[in-house]
């Protein structure tokens, strides 16, 4: 999680964003985030955190300056190429943004479906992504049946399903109680440990102090500080810890669900057997 200048996966050069009426949301931001870094983006409400994230995943364009993601200037990407940029990123929001009438499997497997992955492949990918967040046994559940923490983990699984280079999270713990927030943060750290660059916007300074790492602080649209914070109780992480996430992760149950056809898939004809290769794996509770 070291600070690796010069190997910027995300690079900003004098980026400003003015809203109609001349109000400056961001002003002359210059920094870079290296591949594999974990970066907190913090600041008071209205400091420009969300605007900055929206610029990076090209939901908005800067009024001036350049934003390079993987060496490509996102502002000059043609409209039709934006989807391809977004496929290299995973995005997580405070409000989860899950579709209540779709199963967890369907919610998670949007991108593989767009990419034309067949049902068997989608199940496999969804299973792996959900396993990483400890929810493989809830593939056939609907979001309203899940707790807030579980819903956020589903949203993270959706963001991770394509193994993105970058994971962007906008106040992902804002709707969660402290224990769940800690669990979600640990998940982000694990994702980062596997090589994904994580940019996490939060105004929870206590969480930042506890975990530590690189912290970018915005103040009224300007980069106030860019510093390393030493965490007070940095969690011990090891690869494979994803399997420990969640209160009741039952791999055998999830495999059984799939074998019983309870994978939440509406399509006919293709169902069945999608997890044969992974169904035998155990996830310890």
């Amino acid at each position: 999680m070291g600070f690796q200048r010069g190997k910027g996966l995300i690079q900003l050069f004098h980026v400003s964003k003015l809203y109609p009426g001349g109000q400056a949301a961001l002003s002359d931001l210059t920094f870079e985030i290296g591949r594999g870094q974990f970066v907190f983006l913090t600041g008071a409400s209205g400091a420009g955190k969300t605007t900055l994230l929206r610029l990076i995943f090209r939901e908005e364009v800067p009024s001036s300056g350049q934003i390079l993601v993987n060496g490509r200037n996102v502002a000059s990407i043609p409209q039709r190429k934006i989807p391809y940029l977004r496929r290299t990123m995973g995005v997580v929001f405070q409000d989860f943004r899950l579709i209540a009438r779709k199963t967890v499997f369907e919610n998670v497997s949007y991108l593989p479906r767009i990419l034309g992955v067949d049902l068997r492949g989608r199940k496999k990918l969804a299973y792996h992504a959900l396993r990483r967040v400890g929810l493989a046994h809830r593939m056939s559940s609907f979001p309203p049946e899940l707790s807030g923490g579980e819903q956020q983990r589903v949203a993270i699984a959706r963001a991770l399903i394509n193994e993105p280079d970058i994971l962007i999270a906008d106040e992902p713990t804002g709707n969660l109680d402290p224990d769940l927030a800690r669990e979600i943060l640990r998940l982000f750290l694990l994702v980062n440990q596997r090589g994904t660059t994580v940019l996490l916007a939060t105004h929870d300074r206590e969480m930042i102090q506890r975990v530590g790492g690189r912290v970018l602080t915005l103040d009224r649209g300007q980069l106030a500080t860019d510093r390393e914070v030493v965490g007070t109780e940095k969690p011990e992480l090891r690869l494979g810890d994803e399997d420990d996430l969640g209160e009741e992760v039952r791999a055998e149950g999830s495999a059984k669900d799939v074998k019983d056809g309870k994978d939440g898939v509406e399509e006919e004809g293709e169902a069945g057997g999608g997890l044969e290769e992974v169904g035998g794996e155990r996830v310890d509770a």
């Binding site: 977004r86 943004r97 949007y110 767009i114 990419l115 034309g116 959706r158």
Partner: protein
Amino acid sequence: MSFLQALRSFFRDAAVNLVRGWKVSLVAVLTIAVSLFLSGVFLLASRNLARSVERWQREARVVVYLTPQATAEELAVWARRAAAERWVQTVHPVDPRQAQERFRSIFPSLADLVTAGSEEPLPASLEIEVRPAARGSREQLSALASWRRAPGVTLIDDDREWLAQVQGLVAVIRGVGLVLGLVLLGAAVFTIGSVIRLAAFLHSEEISILRLVGATEFYIRGPFYAEGLLQGTLGGLFAAGGLYGAWLLVRQRAGDALVPSLLAADFLAADQLAALVLLGTAAGLIGAITSLRGETLRSG
């Protein structure tokens, strides 16, 4: 995702949407069905009338009535004169006696009106069949004009004159059908557009997620286009089915009535029927495309 895979996915999603929101979809389908049905009624009527006019035109003839005092020699002279014209195919002279016999056979109840020795016997006449290539030719028109002025001729009855009026009627029916069809089709396109816009609004959350995870506009809009296309096609099929049912009903109940049997003599040809359904398909697609133009989906 291949194009075919995408199409399959679009139509599957569209079918699911149609079933889920069947009440709203039914309104759109019925609107387009009614507009196409009415357009089809006008098309059917004008088609049958036009075909009758064509047949009548083939059978059209010119009848030259001589004065009641015309002798058999004069009739023969006129017959020779007519036969000499290049636009004339055949000439059939009808003397007063033949005319009376024909009248009695056609109208037996009125036979007393034309009994021999009455004051106004039916005049001698010439029934002229016109060569198809010369119908309405300048030569024919100028000959008829000069005959009208000739002594010994009381009246020239040219079938082309009333057929022209019927053709005008056919054109009016077609025009009214076209205008009405366009207006109703416009309403149907608007209705389908509104239904698709509503569907897009109801799916706005999903659209925003699709956009977030990297779906292309083609992928996002495809299911809505497919939905409009399906609605339009269903409307076209309903209209075609309804039109056939109505045609059968009219045929059964028309009996010997002139107008219904004239307007519903034949059903639409297969290509016309296919065109009606395809018009529905196009209307549905246009409705979907226009409803999703610009920023409609961006709000999602």
